[in-house]
């Protein structure tokens, strides 16, 4: 399996496949389906300093090849995440990427400082892009200067490398990526959800009680690929790609665009076994495509190289 192993700042990954934040809880539910040890890493649910209940229901709505969510960062709070969830995950041999959220810079600093000291937390993912939090979360993710500030502040207190999660709801994604790179980010994760909406035909009102929500799933894959393609050519830090991934072929497409690892979100809801299935399929697909190691795929769309030719699906 070493043809799938990937080395990223803070992360020695058996393979480049990990569940995306918010789509895997803290792993307990999926541990009934398969052994979490097989995963490259786990991105746990967003953690805020204090517990949050989140938004009223309905919190999800379906769209063509996608879904909207407005969970509202529900989580048991920093203390319980560390004492209960991360402690439980400590029983597995899998690196944890902790998703850090909040409404103001001090929140991020507080969570980052404490959670980065937990032994199985190998990296942080700064969630400056959640579209469902009102008190300023969105501004962090769309204003380069602010994003840089948060990154800097978190880098100062974090004991592990810091990945910043970029929002796709911006005019210029490259500018955002460069700003957080300047702020000291060790890597990027992208993309978070696009802001979307559905209306109820019967009532005329939004389906989500929060009115708008984050669009995820296969529908957003082309937007994610484009942004990773653009950003990966302009920054020198690695990218963990996500947005609609559901198959091993999707993983390769994200690598071609410029990703060095990937996260699977919504697809876990459709098929709880999607991560193990992808991990099993990847070596076969590498064979068909004629690659020895998955990292050869990274950035192939823009790097000078020979086209892969021996592939017949």
């Amino acid at each position: 399996m070493s043809r799938l192993s990937v080395e990223l700042p803070g992360l020695h990954l058996k393979n480049p496949v990990m569940p995306a934040s918010g789509c895997f809880g803290f792993g307990r539910e999926y541990s009934q389906f398969f052994n979490l040890d097989i995963l490259g890493a786990i991105m746990i649910k967003a953690t805020t300093p204090e517990p949050r209940f989140g938004n009223p229901t309905p919190r999800v709505a379906e769209t063509s090849s996608g879904m909207l969510n407005a969970i509202g960062l529900q989580n048991p709070g920093l203390e319980k995440v560390i004492s209960e969830e991360l402690a439980w995950l400590g029983g597995y041999d899998v690196p944890i990427i902790a998703n850090v959220a909040g409404s103001q810079i001090t929140d991020y600093v507080k969570v980052a400082s404490d959670i980065s000291k937990v032994p199985n937390v190998k990296a942080l993912e700064l969630n400056i892009s959640c579209p469902n939090v009102k008190e300023g979360g969105i501004a962090f993710g769309t204003v380069p200067e602010v994003a840089k500030e948060v990154t800097k502040a978190v880098k100062e207190v974090s004991s592990v490398p810091v990945y910043v999660k970029l929002s796709p709801n911006v005019s210029n994604i490259v500018e955002m990526a460069k700003a957080v790179e300047e702020g000291g980010a060790d890597g990027l994760t992208m993309i978070n959800t696009l802001v979307g909406m559905r209306l109820d035909l019967k009532t005329g009102k939004p389906i989500l009680s929060n009115r708008t929500g984050g669009l995820s799933g296969p529908a957003i894959k082309p937007v994610a690929l484009r942004m990773i393609y653009e950003v990966s050519q302009q920054v020198s830090i690695p990218i963990i790609g996500m947005g609609g991934i559901a198959t091993a072929e999707d993983v390769i497409e994200f690598f071609y665009a410029g990703a060095s690892a990937v996260a699977v979100g919504t697809a876990n809801f459709v098929d709880p076994f999607v991560c193990p299935t992808i991990i099993e399929e990847l070596p076969k697909l590498l064979d068909e495509l004629g690659f020895d190691h998955i990292s050869e795929c990274t950035g192939r769309s823009w790097k000078q190289n020979e086209a892969v030719t021996n592939y017949r699906p």
Binding site: C23, E62, I71, Q74, V270
Partner: protein, 253 residues
């Protein structure tokens, strides 16, 4: 799993019986399954549908659903011997043993909330519990399983338009019931559950809730509700994995 039979019981109401290994894991009436209604990404999400009845030895179970939106309409086109992708059984169903031998239990179903009561009723009867069914529908043509329920116990039907049985809601029937009952098991639309909670909250009342779901297994936090003892705080229950059946008062409807 494999389609054994699939038929339309009433306009847009389908009864689908599937066969497969996972029936052996079904333990309780009121559990549900998550159905993938098509291959591929459209529609994307699974549909939560209650188990209406199951037969472990034959490895068969039945669900009854209304073909309404995109997913259920596609599901209704599945033919005999075709495969259907099922995740489940999921959640916690009705606590059958809360009704003791010799007692009477009231089973209250509204519309497409009726199906899970069927397995429940069979198991209660097998345990020596007397059952009374009060089933509410929009109109006469929407009624299904009246005969099946009647074979298990008294069965009262209410229709909103009065085209069959009592005109009105299930509560119209229950308010006039003469029999005594200690336990109520109920499944149906939220307004119905609220009315039951308001009127019969002092009984042992169990309610099966509906909520829009993402994962159906407790991972995504789409389906949470506040708990009765902390109605505005941080404690919560998930309809999918803690429910869908709750004791009245346990969660805020």
């Amino acid at each position: 799993m494999k389609v054994l039979t699939h038929k339309e019981l009433a306009p847009s109401i389908f009864e689908l019986t599937l066969q497969g290994e996972l029936v052996s894991e079904m333990k309780q009436p009121g559990q549900f399954v998550q159905v993938k209604t098509t291959e591929g990404a459209e529609p994307l999400l699974r549909r939560p549908i209650s188990i209406s009845s199951y037969n472990s030895s034959e490895k068969q179970f039945t669900m009854i659903y209304r073909a309404e939106g995109k997913g259920t309409t596609l599901l209704s086109q599945r033919k005999q011997a075709e495969a259907v992708d099922i995740l489940g059984p999921l959640g916690n169903g009705f606590p059958v043993h809360e009704a003791k031998e010799g007692e009477t239990a009231l089973l209250v179903g509204g519309g497409i909330g009726v199906p899970p009561l069927y397995q429940l009723s069979q198991m209660l009867v097998a345990n020596g519990v007397r059952v009374i069914h009060v089933l509410g529908f929009q109109t006469k043509s929407a009624i299904f399983y009246e005969k099946e329920f009647s074979e298990l116990g008294d069965t009262h039907i209410a229709t909103v338009d009065g085209s069959y049985g009592t005109k009105g809601f299930v509560t119209t029937v229950i308010d006039k019931l003469e029999q005594e009952f200690a336990t109520i098991f109920s499944c149906g639309p939220t307004p119905m559950l609220k009315a039951l909670e308001a009127g019969y909250g002092e009984k042992r009342l169990y309610l099966s809730l509906e909520e829009r779901m993402g994962c159906g297994i407790g991972a995504c936090f789409a389906c949470v509700c506040h708990t009765g003892d902390d109605p505005t705080g941080f404690s919560y229950k998930k309809v999918c994995s803690d429910g869908p059946v709750f004791r009245a008062g346990e969660v805020i409807l």
